[in-house]
Subunit: 73 residues, 12 copies
């Protein structure tokens, strides 16, 4: 029985942001993505950028690849 063979993930890429910092931007991206996709399983942080204003970081911006279970999989 190859029932595990049925196990397939899809990966999407999202960009999230936060005034607070890197981890908060990750949590925002994950939280918003979970509203439309169930069964999120892992992420990989692809890059970290930020908007600057008057010598300060105004927004932290992260891009993530997020893996999720294909439903019925």
């Amino acid at each position: 029985m190859h029932e595990h063979n049925e196990h397939v993930y899809k990966i999407i890429e999202v960009v999230g942001s936060s005034r607070e910092g890197i981890e908060d931007a990750v949590r925002n991206a994950v939280s918003r993505t979970s509203e439309s996709i169930r069964e999120l399983r892992w992420f990989k942080l692809e890059d970290v950028r930020g908007q600057l204003k008057e010598g300060k970081v105004e927004y932290w911006q992260v891009s993530l690849r997020i893996g999720f279970n294909v439903e019925g999989g």
Copy 2:
């Protein structure tokens, strides 16, 4: 208020082509993508390829990552 935290982009990858050239292939890819996804915001050109025939470029082919606003975001 962290209303900006709500701001999340998704990124998709598309491949477009043109007989004319690189920029036309980008415009075709963007135009077709915009038929099904609203609120496209930016692209990044990932690679440029082409089909050759009888010593000439028959098609230019570009792959793009395109970022768009998550609706309701």
Copy 3:
């Protein structure tokens, strides 16, 4: 006539696995993806990983980028 200009691919990324080996994991990923997306055209193998248990490979795991025709394109 620029009818070819209409030709646009989308690319998705999926992860498949198998107890048997690399090619079987690719076939599983493709087969499951084809259940929800028609007109798959090509894949590129992005990486190969595996789960180990008691000094043996328990699962082979591949991640693929898969290109498909945009319907109506």
Copy 4:
């Protein structure tokens, strides 16, 4: 009118450090850079390193690429 064509950024690379953590090291690098360059607009985090001493992180060190408006641009 191509007035926007006049819009050009320069990018510099800086390394900042902090005893506190990654975000504090970014803020230090941005803050010091803003003393000599006005109109900083964005950064990209290129890598994160650290000095270790007696099994602890003594300093966090980040390298950033920072984009800024060319004055008069």
Copy 5:
């Protein structure tokens, strides 16, 4: 019958240039390469550089990998 197995491409790398622009440099490189190698099939643009003189682009220079059918293949 594995007649398709016989199908093998070779890839060469060439650098072409043009005073006009990127696409013209690609076409020059392809055209010159086709004088000595028949059956060119595709290219991939590897990088784009240029020579500058008095604040202007004097030459655009592209490097391409070009795939071609092995004759008799």
Copy 6:
């Protein structure tokens, strides 16, 4: 005599944009850079991005590394 040993280039990174296309964005970036730095010699195109609006490319944006002679070198 090692007079050639005296020959040293510096490299800067700039971002230019244009409503017209990739080559125009390169020319804008080079032209503006040449206002403050003489003796620009070559560029390498690092990436191509763009801003999208209503399914169209609003601006093309290129980042370049530009090499120039160190004066007196």
Copy 7:
């Protein structure tokens, strides 16, 4: 309780080979590594090479990064 914090993997890099093929070379590398290190958990295939002789593949050679539990962890 941060008991999970105790969970740390080490990663080693090994090269294995086989006359049979890629998966057999992976299995050989894993099997030999497991003789001296217990608790191997996963691998990532880093590259695939081979020795050729008289127009045939004599050996397949894979390099792997293998993660294992730190004992007591």
Copy 8:
């Protein structure tokens, strides 16, 4: 006297995790590694991943390359 020539570092790669965040995962990895290897000197953050559960980050996971003095060196 080339006494400095004697100075050689080794580099190991480790993966650490934390429920709290990125910096805490780094500190855990460093702390655990320091139990078996003295004279850790620096780290480089190679990647950041995480496990997701019910739309939240359950664990942050970092992989680090850590340099240490070869004893007697």
Copy 9:
């Protein structure tokens, strides 16, 4: 005597394909290349792609860099 200094390899890049799988595609590419070049010594697998049709892999396609002795070397 620096007779070994005379030892020089050239490297070519080829693409091979197979209906059977990855290793068969490698063997086809090597076999066909050996018809025109003697003294092939090693290969490195650069990437693995495939053509898909009706949810199945129709062809596996590999690109290889192959090193060979320069004759008389």
Copy 10:
């Protein structure tokens, strides 16, 4: 007291050359750069190229990233 937080490096990229070899080209690039920037601290060799003439290396050319203390930092 976070006086160390004040410690910020800038990084510049330069290209140097030499008829003698790689290390001499590095020393030339560093020496010329030190004429205008004090407090150079480290370099990283980014690439090595060369000009050829009549089957010989006429010039060795290195590109370096060089880090230096920001004055007053």
Copy 11:
């Protein structure tokens, strides 16, 4: 008149070795390549490896990409 457009380089990749060191291995590779190809113009050092025996470097081995004028070009 686009006579410069005619200017096309080809690039080949070679591996050379030496008992003496890196630069000598480069010179060997260039010298041997020049026996069969005229008009070599530049090289780029792609990687440096070596064979070890009894704790010493037995051979230095470099791989180079070498650009040359296409004859008649």
Copy 12:
């Protein structure tokens, strides 16, 4: 008989330095590593850095990946 299948290498990463130059730093790293590990077989040069002082290179620093036979293998 698959006796060759038993052949497995491990790879370690080390950093060596020298006041003299790149090759001397490689030799130092290899020599010191050979004091604790027998059967070193090959290295790959991963990067070259250096410490600068008063406009001169004070130390050359190389990082190497070194492959060695697993004993009994």
